[in-house]
Symmetry: C4
Subunit: 277 residues, 4 copies
């Protein structure tokens, strides 16, 4: 609750007060600020999305334009306030959340230069990640941490898997290009590699499909391969999650002798009192 | 078997008898009632489905109409009987099963007001959940309980995952909208987000498909991403199921000394008699 | 090797000899018979498949016809031989393998009555299961047994899951039928339920696809649901396999005191000699 | 680092020096060689892929032609150098890496005889596997080893699964051929089997789709089957990975008494000093 106080020591009273409202949520004002922010984010994304629908743009384009600028200015004010009420503004600017907050306002200003760039305002969706902080969902954060650890531990294995899949689709795409040829829609190797990815991931748009018997045989092989290797990332993530779940459970096991927790995975005796665990 | 008796204490004899037939199935009459109910449910759903086929509606529409009303009146009578033979009718009305039972008859009456609403009669499919009770499939109920626990424990992790997927498709959908544009079928951001969902879940209708090289590159990335993150919900559910399976197995382990069950996961000594487990 | 001898006790010498060739494969003649049989099965299936290709039927139809009858007569002779060299022919006739062997020859004779029934000859593919016996792949049989146990244990949980999926597609199919209507290809509830199955299983042909915004919203929900619930059967099967793997491993653990195996999962002391496991 | 020295004992000094550069990467020259090689591989694959795009071929065909031959000659020189600086060239030629290295240059020379064969140059993608060696990513190699073991252990179970899937699609493809017939695009059994594979793997191109009610019913069954059996390979691989992870973890557990590692899975006492683990 008060862990941010050392950072606000040298701030003036109004800055401390602002910091509590904007960065924390244990006060009524802080909570209200967070909820209003959440609503602003969701409504602004909805406005950007609806504005892209031609029929709605014609009827409500003017309203959407006003709303977009209202939200952009609000978020700009919020961004400035965030900067002036902390001691080390650069730390916030280059943090993940700071970059996301900036991305949420830049496209509007960019639209003066590049028409259409306001579509990028949907990056505001990333700000929704604040939702966890807002509702102080400690349990959710713990689960998120859990998923994070399991996925981090899987990264190396999964990157090998992806390298393997990419090599496979390049080679299989080239073979199908030779077999089917431009006449059947496989106009180039990149196009055929795209088709191989569509097939191996079992998406299967059907915008390009093999027409020759040999092409269909190769396609069948790719499908069965994709169907089978889907097991690999799942196996990796599941194994890591099981390990993470085990580690978390064990860290919570208390010694029957002294009640202290945090024993190692393989510990049979309590490391504090020596009792049999 | 007799656990419902305290509730029927103050009911008159004919109510008690009716309660046994309708709510229980350990008597011959109760079993017969349940089986007839099950057949009625299946036949009534089939009638609703077949009636929607134009060719069959023209030939058998009259028969279907009579059957639908026969089933609706039957279920209405059953609903009323269910109400009058229990002490606390409101409890039934607001229970999950009670709401489902009501949903199974309302659409027919609504069809006087809104033509076509009788299609909603397929909600009767939910009544099929009674099948487990009918055949007293205790083992099935235990398995269902098992699945229920594992899925409940996964909810928090899966809701984080869904929030992540939704943010991703909003952002990727907007990017593809900028890249491909209305000329290639990506007429608006909501439409493009719909396409991103079709792609990331590997459904791939092909009603909209990227046409530009850059669009295909982004589509390939979305496919591989969808292919990979499919591992996450699977990993979550599998891990929870493994934990639930372990917990169930351990709860069934009896102490070799005193025979009592329900020892903790890490227990090495029986908590009742102290014997080594 | 000799476990079939009690059955051939009362058979005449030539029957015993025939039995060894046809039913067993530890003699050179028996092995040769099995390999020839395997080749016949594969070639006969290939002939049936190729004969269905119009272009090949016109050119080689006569050859295919002769080959088909050659294989049918061969399999008929084999079937009769199998019957006359065992003591209890009825037991074979009604066994799984016996029924498959009969299914492999009946369609040819049926083709006199129903033209086209010879396509059913592909049921001969089931005879390929003999491949495991032929090569005496004991390890494969052990693995097959392992898969069999894990899948059998999953059946109850998976049947609940399938009942849930079927109820879901009936209800969602009806809703989309009301939303999209016959104008967009959703001509009837069965048709819409078919579409819901195509979508929830992430197949996505694209022969029918929602056209209205609300229909696309519901479709997106079905896709994400299908994407998520795919985790359930996988979790079930994986958990059962892990349990089966554990059971098998433990059954193979020998006591350090007496060397005997087959101890229970939770055993800490050898049940034969009392030594600490 | 020096494990290759026994092989280079009888090589002349310049051969030893060359060997260090080409086959090893602990010297600056060796590392530079490997990185240049990696860049050459990636650029050459990109050139082959871009050259297949008609528009780019017209504009840059001449440049691509020159680049392709530059890379082919470079790789040919590299191949010859690899041969002359080792004692047993045949061992390299018939090793997996040697065959891949040869495959990376042959198609260019073959293009004199068969026009178009240069598309096969994408087999150079396989050379990317060298990337692990280049960056001395020992951890990656360990993970790769881990995946390799888990997948090897799954092969037998997965081959049974594939045999089952192949039998299933042959039989289901034939049934749908009889039901739908050539009029609805199911022109032959091989074509129908191809459709069954497209459906059971949930790819679903939609180039062929059932049109009759019975065909759609069978298709629904195939989809649900495919959706369900996808759990089997995933379950197999996950179980094997969990076992491999467990084995690796246990091999790393040190005895608390003597500190030595590598104890068996079920060991409770250290096999070196007898201390309780």
């Amino acid at each position: 609750m008060r862990q941010t106080s050392p950072h606000t020591d040298e701030l003036r009273p109004w800055q401390t007060r602002l910091h509590e409202i904007i960065y924390e949520s244990h006060t009524a004002a802080g909570k209200a600020f967070d909820i209003i922010l959440l609503i602003f984010i969701i409504v602004s994304i909805t406005v950007v999305m609806l504005d892209s629908v031609a029929a709605l743009h014609i009827r409500y384009g003017r309203l959407f334009f006003v709303l977009e600028w209202f939200f952009t200015l609000s978020f700009t004010v919020e961004y400035v306030l965030r900067l002036i009420c902390i001691r080390q503004p650069w730390k916030y600017i280059f943090s993940a959340l700071g970059v996301i907050d900036l991305l949420a306002i830049i496209p509007s200003y960019l639209s003066f230069v590049y028409v259409g760039s306001q579509s990028l305002l949907v990056f505001r969706a990333l700000r929704l990640l604040r939702v966890f902080r807002i509702f102080r969902l400690v349990h959710f954060l713990s689960e998120m941490q859990f998923l994070h650890v399991a996925i981090l531990n899987s990264i190396r294995k999964i990157s090998i898997f992806i390298l393997f899949v990419l090599s496979t689709v390049v080679i299989l795409g080239s073979i199908i290009y030779l077999v089917e040829g431009p006449a059947n829609g496989f106009t180039s190797i990149p196009q055929s590699v795209y088709w191989a990815i569509v097939t191996i991931t079992t998406v299967g748009y059907g915008d390009i499909a093999p027409a020759t018997p040999l092409g269909k045989l190769i396609a069948s092989f790719i499908m069965l391969l994709g169907y089978g290797i889907l097991a690999v990332p799942t196996g990796i993530v599941t194994t890591e999650m099981a390990l993470a779940a085990k580690a978390r459970r064990q860290a919570n096991e208390a010694c029957p002798g002294c009640g202290r927790e945090g024993h190692d995975h393989d510990a049979r005796f309590c490391k504090y009192c020596g009792a049999l665990l």
